[in-house]
Each structure stands twice: as C-alpha cells, then as structure tokens.
Amino acid sequence: MSTEISRRTFIKGGAAAGVAIAAGTYFKWEGNNIPKNVRDGNVTYDVLIIGSGGAGMKAALEAAKNDKLKVAVMTKMIPTRSASTMAQGGMNGVTGVTDPDDTTESHAFDTVKGGDYLCDQDAVEYFTETAGKIIYEMDYMGYPYNRQKDGSFHQRKMGGSSHARAAYYEDRSGHAMVHALFEQCLAKNVEFISECQMLEIIRKDEKLSGVVAVDMRSGNFISIPTKSIIIATGGYGRAYWIRTTNPYSSTGDGIAMGMQLGIPFKDPEMVQFHPTGLASNGVLLSESSRSEGAYLLDKDGNRFMARYAPKAMELATRDIVARSIETEINEGRGIGEGLHAAVYMDFRHIPKERIMERLGQVYDLSLRFEGVDISKQPVPIRCSCHYSMGGLEVDDYKTTATRVPGVYAAGECSCVSIHGANRLGANSLSEVLVFGTVAGKSAAEYAAKVKYEGNLEVLKAARDQWLAKFDEVTARTAGTPVVEIRDKMAETMWYKAGVYRDEQHLNEASKEIDALMELYKNCYVGDASHTYNTAFMNYIEIGNLLQISKAIVLGATARKESRGGHSRKDFPLRDDKNFMKHTLVFKEGNTYKTEYKDVVVTKYQPKERKY
C-alpha cells in the first residue's frame, strides 16, 4: 500500500526484550492471585458463589452481612464482565412513584400472562411483593436511577407491562446495576476468586464437599471446600452460538454442573428468541427500536406483522414477533441465506434527531456491523436466542434452595419459575436482585447452622483427576477441533430446535447432539500451556453446552404443545389440559430422563393470550 510518509513499523527496537514506554509489563506469574490456603484447599468457605453477575454479587453482599462467615465469589472472568451488563430496559417493581395505580397483583398477572401461564404463581407473587423494595435498596446503594420531578427514581412502561414500573438508567440499566453492586463489593471487601473456571461440584455420600476449578492465571487446579454453594452462572444462549444476543460467556456452566449433582434442568426448552438481533452476529438491537416506531419489512418492503398481530403489529410480544420473522424467512420472503438470513427493520420514517437521541446505540451498531445508516436504509435483522427462561430447578422459592441440600440457584441459571414460557422485559434485573438476595441470606443462614461434612480427600482426588484430564486432553494432536463441534451444534440447534420445532427434527437433533458428544470425547483443543489456557476453557464450555443442548431438545420433545417461546409445528396450540406442567430433564451418569411437574396456580387460571 503506498504511503506518503514513511510509516514507523510500530515494532520498537528490542520488542522481544520488552518495551520501554509502558511501565513494567511482563512478569512471571506465580499464582499469588489466589491465597495459598485456597490453593491448597485448606480453607473452608461457608458460602461459595459461582458467578459474579447481578445475582452473584447481590448474594455475596447479603451473605457477607454476617461477618463471621467466609464468603467468596468465584468467576471465570473478572467482575463486571457478566451478561448482566447487557440488560438495557430497567428493573420492574411496584412502588407507585410514577404510576400510583400500580399493584403487585397487576405485576403478578402481567408476569404470568407474559409467561403464557407456565410461571409458578406462588413464586411470582413473592417476587412481585419484593421487587419494589429492591429498587429503593439499590437507590441507597448508589444505583444511578433516572429521576422524575419529585426526586424519586422514574419508572417506565416496558413491553407486556400494564403499568409503568421499570426503574432504569438510560438504556444501560444492567450495566449500572453491575457497577453499583461492584462498588459495594469493593467497599465491603467481598472476596473474589477471579478467572477461575469451575469444573465440577463434588458431592459424595450425599455430603457436599466443595468445588474443583482451574485457576486460569497460574494454571493450578484447585479444590475449594465449602459448606454451601450458590450457582449464579447465567444463561445458555450460546447453544445457538452466533444466533444469540448473549455474550461468549453464556455457556450454562453452572446448569451443567448442577445436573451432574442430580438437580433437574427445569423447562430447558424455554428459550426466548428476541426478534431483533443483527443478522450478521446476533447483537441485540434494543426493543425500544420497535417502541419508537420501527417497521418490520419482508424482502418486498411489506409490513408483514399485519398477518400475525394486526392490532399490535410490531409491538406484539417478543415470541409472537420472533415467530413471525422466522415464518417469513422460512416461506422465502426474507433476504440472505443460512444462519445469516434476515428480514428488514426500517427506521427511515422516524426523524433523524429522534433516532440519534433515543436510538443512538441502535444507530451505531447498525453502522458498524452492517454498514447501514438506519436513517437512510433498513437494517437486516433476525431473531436471536436472548434469554434462558429454563434453568436449575429451585425447590423452594423462599430460599432458592435446590433439591440438593447446600446448593442454591439464583438468577438466569435458575428456574423458579418466574418467567414461565416467556420473560417480560425488565423482569430479569428484578429477578436477579430479588433472588440473589434470597440466596445469599438463605445460604448464609444454612452455613451458620451446619458443620462442614465434606471429604477433603475426595475433593483433592477429584482435583488431581481433572489435572490428569487436562494433560490428556490438551496433549492430543488430532481430533475434531472444538470450534467445529461448536458450529455443528449451533446449526443443529438453530434449525432443529430453534424458533420452530417438530418431532422429526427434534429426534434428528437428539441424535446429532449424541454424535457430537462422541466426537467431543476425542476432540482437539490445540493448546497445552498451563497459563491462561482459553482453548481449554472453551473446551469445557462446549462440553457444557452439549449437555445443555441435549436437555433443550429433550424438553422440547417432551412438551407436545406450543407455549410462549416454544413452538411446535406439529402441536401449534397451547394445551392447558395436558401441559400446565414443567418439563424436568435429569442427567444420571450419561443418560438423560425427562419428567413433569405441575405448575403452581394460585389466582390466575390460564386464558387465551392476546395483546
């Protein structure tokens, strides 16, 4: 490439020896990020929280109120990188500050209806009674709420809500929550065990021993004894890999490990497909696009929502819009091909000033990733897996305890079930805060009462086994590369267990996942270093996603109806007579089995869901 002026090569002289400009950068890592007694497994935690998102940090702050307890948050990344940061709209909670007519009954009903009546209504009632209080608490903790004239936080109306009840920070409500919680964690000196990939929860003879993890930075395999565990590892949208809005980290690690313990994966098939993800990479284009008036167009420029939701049009619920988009593509009225096929979202009729003021992020993302100026051209979008309503079964919503004593689950990785078959916008942030608090409080109370009954030898033996496994797996010089298995899994899942499902394709998907699990046994990782081996981390994550995918397929097969985010072409209607039930997928050794459990109905009998 010709240049007018000779350009510096930017590789400074002596680069191999180290660079002068930035101070003291390179050094030998000796694993001193983790205290020695943790490395040796000599300290027993009272509460070990896995996951540092909204639920994890809130749980830690709650548990740490008892300063006699040893509490830590373990995360495979570092704090503030979680999917929680990506939430935009706000947190629902009934306070009446903006809409004095709002009631917890209304919030509960909106949630249950939004969830297509699959929510456990006793838990939902508990949730709506607490969600408002949490908003005040977060204000006190420094959350930067947008305000209204009387000085209270302002609440706005989100999709599917009948009242204005979502408190928020701009269009980055999740980001603000994570940083407010992290500030509190720093202030209270909450212990973080960062960049440790959890591998297994060890339980022997019905006694919880602790966890085995790999400290990425040093490469040491560590075993940590703990009396109680709170699993708060988030969702599993990456089963669909690029067709998800989720971050790279949403690989359902905690769910896979919970299943190993015997905790069932409840309603795994219930994933929410957000209608507007960028066609090229699944990045979310905010729902406010549609609430600000964007149109959805087929390849000929027609507003196709007229066919599916003539009154609400583009403002129908997410699952309805998502299915409409997929139908348009399946029936040939979309553009493009494969996993990147799409329809158009059109903003051209909206005045440019309003686009820049209210939809600045949407404008930037479209320009950067699609090269499209949305004030002049429509942008290609397609649905993307956005939220995991399914998760580890919570046995008691008042404590978030699972059926395994000492193990709790909170946040997106859990299924209480608050969201049923479809989550409402702004209910997720409230859920992580409400149940993160509950989990922290309950785990702390439990740990204060019981003695550690685990087995340190078993724990250390498990750790040694994992180290041996690491050496074996990373030494391979042949095999199917992990990314190939990943991409095949994503294709199988999207086309055969995606927006539309049917018996034949689900059976094929099940076999394909089984075949991928076989390939996984001898797959090629490609990096044998002990220091921060991200290839090994990805290997673990894909292994977890395969188990998650299998459960999704089994859950979808078992649910012979359509409800919320789950659509069966062969069972297109909701079947309240037979399926007011949750699906529970159990893993025993290497076999999976499916059971059902009745939905708890208190006040709201299932009705037809029209918007």
Binding site: M1, T3, T9, F10, I11, A16, G18, I21, A22, A23, G24, T25, Y26, K28, N33, M77, I78, T80, R81, A83, T85, M86, Y136, E137, D139, Y140, M141, G142, P144, Y145, N146, R147, G151, Y169, E170, H175, A176, A180, E183, Q184, L186, A187, P247, Y248, S249, S280, N281, V283, L284, L365, F369, V483, V525, G526, D527, S529, H530, Y532, N533, A535
Partner: protein
C-alpha cells in the same frame, strides 16, 4: 483486502511476535478478527471478551500504540487511519500482562478502593425509602456512571507510564468525580481528600484518557471537575492547587501570566529557592527577567468583573 496482524504473544515466559493474515469483511472488528484467528488459525491465541457489544469492557487491546475497544473498532477503520496493511496488536499498556493480550486487573481494584468507591448516602435516606435527587442533580453525574472498566484510558496515560505508584488510573478519577457530583452522597470532602492524597494534581493533562475513552466520558474533564471541587469545598492547599490559583490570580490581577513569580506562588519560598540554578540558567539567556513587571491589561476592571460575577454563579 488482506491485513497482517502482528500480535505480541507471551506464554510461559516466552515473548515473541506472531503474524496472522486475515481478510477484511463487512463488520470485521478487531475482536471478530481475533476470534476468527483463534477458531481457524491458532487456538492458542488468548484474549478476553464477553459481550462483543461495547458494554462489558473485557476486550480492550492496543493497536499501533493506541488503545481500542476491540469489539467496537473495524479493522478497516484502522487500515485507513494508519494507511497500512500491517497492524501491531499488543495488550493494554500500564497493566501487568498475564498471557498474550490478557492483563491483570487486580491491582486496579486495589487502587479503586483508595477512593472509597461506593455511595455514602446522606443520613436522611434509608434502605427502605431510597434516596431523592432532582433531575438536574442526576444530570450532573450521570455521564460518569457510564464507565465500563475497559482500561483504554489506563493504557495511554502518560503519567502512569512514567510512575503509577503515586497516581490513580483515569477511570478511578471518573469514579471519584461521579461520587463527588452525586448529590445523594454525604462525603464529598472525604472522597476528594482520598483523591488528592492519591495524586489528583499530578495529572499531566495530556488528554490521552479523553481521546481513548470509547464511551466519551472525558476523564480529563472529570479530573478538572475534581480540581474545581477542591476549590469549591475549600480543600485546596498543595503545590498543584497553588499553581492553578496562581494563574487564576494572575489573570485577575493583570490579565496575563507572571512567570517570574510562578515558582514562588506555587511552591512557596523555600522550595522555590531550590530553583535558583535553573533561574540563573534562564536569566543568562534572557528568558527570565525578575525585574520585569507584568503589564496590566487596559480592560482589567471588566476582566475582574467577569471573574467576580462568574465565581459567584459557580458556587
């Protein structure tokens, strides 16, 4: 177009530069290029990333000596900016490197603790009733709540590059400014005291942090706000603040800077005395004339008036 990425690798104490070639496609950001290289060319290339939509802050790296948020910047933009088809990718500056492009954030969290980085709510607020804050007061600090802890500002800080032990990273000043401007907080003075002790006045004002911030938070502006706050809250009494006040007073007194008095005004007579050698050197070349009186601006009464009126309004 094929671009060559020269990536600084560091694994198990070995350092080297590895070249990868990649074709520029629509929407190819630095991060998507790294992922593609890892998937198709070299699974050992290591870096951190999560949201890939510029909100989690995990993926910042240095390209051609400037920090970039990898998921936000297209390779094409860089190719055009540097007029090259070779880009050098390094981990962020002013961090310890763990491996390849992965850096250690723990020391930064310890630094954050120095400014007591959480809200200290006023006594009239409670957990049950939350806080009250006007829309105007919210507007004062809301921008600073947008920091994603990406480290781009840290990487290019010229002061930190020389010595980071007596200074804070720019994003920590942003966090402090957020708290000092937050009307819900009762300890503005305490936060400021912490910030002053941690080196507020040592900032070079090089504007690298403001130029690097992918969220347009203007950390250099936050530092300026903190400095102003030290005057407003009557906590200004150090060399740095004296120096600033000296210039401000010079404008008030004559309209122009009086260089001959600057050292004494900033450092006090004793410290200024140590400047005699350099003063002598400057006098020799004629650069310093201790007897030259600064001329007074003809319009000085209006100028003083402006400052008086503005200072009153600026409370």
């Amino acid at each position: 177009m094929i671009v060559t990425l020269q990536i600084h690798r560091y694994v198990d104490e070995k350092k080297w530069i590895q070249e990868y070639k990649i074709e520029i496609t629509k929407g190819l950001t630095i991060l998507s290029a790294l992922h593609e290289i890892k998937a198709k060319q070299d699974p050992s290339l290591s870096f951190t990333s999560s949201c890939r939509s510029s909100i989690c802050g995990a993926c910042a790296v240095r390209v051609n000596d400037h920090s970039e948020l990898a998921c936000e910047v297209l390779l094409d933009t860089l190719v055009k900016r540097y007029k090259t088809d070779v880009l050098v990718v390094e981990p962020l500056g002013n961090f310890r490197v763990i491996r390849d492009l992965i850096v250690d954030w723990d020391p930064k969290y310890e630094k954050m603790k120095k400014i007591e980085p959480s809200l200290h709510p006023k006594a009239e607020f409670t957990v049950q009733t939350g806080c009250k804050q006007s829309i105007e007061d919210f507007d004062k600090y809301k921008k600073y709540a947008g920091c994603i802890l990406c480290g781009s500002c840290v990487s290019e800080c010229n002061k930190s590059a020389l010595n980071e032990k007596d200074f804070l990273d720019p994003f920590i000043f942003v966090k402090a400014a957020k708290l000092v401007e937050d009307s819900r907080d009762k300890d503005h003075k305490q936060h400021l005291k912490d910030v002053i002790e941690a080196g507020l006045w040592k900032c070079f004002n090089c504007q690298e942090c403001t130029a690097s911030c992918p969220k347009d938070l203007d950390p250099a502006g936050a530092i300026e706000k903190l400095k102003e706050a030290t005057f407003k809250l009557e906590m200004a009494s150090s060399v740095g603040s004296n120096h600033a006040k000296a210039i401000y007073d010079d404008i008030y007194n004559t309209g122009l800077l009086d260089e001959s008095k600057l050292s004494v005004q900033s450092e006090g007579f004793i410290s200024a005395a140590f400047r005699v050698p350099i003063a002598y050197r400057l006098m020799k070349t004629g650069k310093l004339d201790l007897f030259e009186k600064a001329p007074v601006n003809k319009d000085i009464s209006k100028i003083r008036s402006i400052i008086d009126i503005a200072a009153k309004e600026d409370k």
